[in-house]
C-alpha cells in the first residue's frame, strides 16, 4: 500500500506526520519504506540515525549539437516550447537549464546534428534505520525542474511494503509527481486562512488525479473550526488532530519524532494507518 502525505501550504507538518506514521508501523508484519519526495529540501532522514546503503545519480537527456552537421535551419529552436535552443545568426545556443527533455529537437533535426546527452539533475539515496528503509531524493543545486527526481525516488517503491511518501508543499507538478497513483493521500493542514486556502487547492488537485484523501489537522486549537467546516462541506474525513503544544514543537525541533517523544502517539498513528487502510479497501 502506498500512502502519500501532502499539504498545500508548506510548514504544516507533513514530515512530522510521515516520520511518525512510518515509525508507528515498524512492528506491523510488513516492511516499511519512507520516501522523501520533498527533493528541494529533503529532511525526513534527519529524524533517524540511519546508515547509507545505496546512492545513484539522476540524469535527464538534453541536446548536444555537432556543429559540423548543423545546417542552421532553425527547426530545433522552432519546435522547442521552452526556448532551450536559440538560433542566433550562425550560432546555435543550447540552454540546458531550461530544457524539459521532451526530445523534440533531436528527433526532428533534419541533419541529425543533435543528440541527447545526460545532464545530472539530482540524486537518490537509500539508507536504513533498523527495519525502516528511507529513500531520499535531492535536487541538484541550481536545477529547478524537480519532478524527474521525485519520479526517480518513487521508482524505489515496492507495493508489497507499506510505503509512506513525504511530499513537497504546493499543488503543482512536483506534488503531483509525488502523489499520483498512490492509494491514499493524507493532507496535513493547520487551522489558519493560509492552511485552508492551500488545502482546498490540494483537494482539487487530488480530485483531478483521482486519489482519495483525508485530513490531519496539526496545531489544532479548540474552538477554531475553519478546517472542520471545510471538511464537512467537502465530505472529507478528519483522520487525526495534533494539538498546538509547546512540548510537541520542542521535541520536533530537537529532531525527535512525535511517536518517540510521547509513546501515546504511537497508538494514534497506528490508528491513523488503519483508518486509511480501511478507506483504501473500500
Amino acid at each position: 500500500m502506498i500512502i502519500s502525505v501532502a499539504s498545500g501550504k508548506g510548514g504544516t507538518g507533513k514530515t512530522l506526520v510521515a516520520t511518525s506514521l512510518a515509525l508507528s508501523l515498524l512492528d506491523e508484519q510488513k516492511q516499511v519504506q519512507l520516501l522523501d519526495c520533498d527533493v528541494e529540501e529533503p529532511n525526513a532522514h534527519i529524524f533517524f540515525n540511519s546508515q547509507p546503503v545505496y546512492e545513484e545519480v539522476v540524469t535527464l537527456p538534453v541536446p548536444q549539437v555537432e556543429y559540423a552537421r548543423c545546417q542552421y535551419c532553425g527547426k530545433c529552436s522552432e519546435v522547442c516550447q521552452f526556448r532551450a535552443i536559440a538560433l542566433l545568426k550562425r550560432t546555435l545556443v543550447i540552454f540546458p537549464d531550461v530544457c524539459h527533455s521532451c526530445g523534440g529537437c533531436w528527433h526532428l533535426c533534419p541533419a541529425g546534428a543533435l543528440e541527447p546527452v545526460a545532464r545530472e539533475v539530482g540524486n537518490v539515496r537509500i539508507s536504513r534505520a533498523g527495519s525502516l528503509e528511507i529513500v531520499s531524493g535531492s535536487l541538484k543545486l541550481g536545477t529547478h525542474i524537480s519532478p524527474p527526481v521525485v519520479k526517480a525516488v518513487r521508482q524505489k517503491e515496492n507495493r508489497e511494503n507499506i510505503v509512506i511518501i513525504d511530499g513537497p508543499p504546493g499543488s503543482s507538478c512536483p506534488v503531483m509527481a509525488a502523489v499520483a497513483g498512490t492509494d491514499f493521500c493524507i493532507l496535513v493542514t493547520e487551522p489558519t486562512p493560509f492552511g485552508l486556502n492551500d488545502l482546498s487547492l490540494a483537494v482539487e488537485m487530488l480530485q483531478v488525479l483521482g486519489v482519495p484523501c483525508g485530513v490531519v489537522i496539526n496545531r489544532d486549537v479548540p474552538g477554531n473550526d475553519i478546517i472542520d467546516r471545510f471538511c464537512q462541506e467537502k465530505g472529507l474525513q478528519i483522520l487525526l488532530r495534533i494539538p498546538f503544544q509547546t512540548k510537541i514543537a520542542r521535541a520536533y525541533a530537537r529532531g525527535i519524532p512525535l511517536v518517540k517523544s510521547d509513546p501515546l502517539w504511537r497508538e494514534k498513528f497506528r490508528d491513523l494507518y488503519h483508518r486509511v487502510a480501511r478507506e483504501v479497501q473500500q
Binding site: F82, R83, L88, K89, V93, F95, H144
Partner: protein
Amino acid sequence: MRIAISASGETLEDSLNPRLGRCEYFVLYNDDTGETLAIENTGRFSVGAAGIATVGLLNDHGVDVLITGNVGPNAFTALQAAGIQVYTGASGKVRDVLQDYKDGKLNEAKGPNVGPHGR
C-alpha cells in the same frame, strides 16, 4: 547601426523599462538615418525564458546595440551569440538614455548584471 532600448511605451518620451524579457516595447533607433521605430516585445509572453525569446526577436530585427536595465545569464549568452552589444543599468526617458549613449556616458556590460530569474 540599430540601437534598441527596452521601453514601457512606443515613443522617445516613454520610460526605459529595466526588465529586458518583460518590457512592453523596444524603441529602435537607426543612427545612420536618425529614424526611430517601435516594436512590441512579443517575447514577454513566454511562460519562461522570456530573455532568450526577446533576444531572438532583437536578432530578427537586426539590432546591433541593446540598452536596458537588467540582463540575466541566459539572455547575456544569447546576446553574445547574436553579436549584440549590451549596455545595462540605464534608466530614465528613452530620449535621455539615447543621448547618454551618444555622449558615451553608458558602460558596455561585460557579463550579466542579475542572477537567473526565469524558468
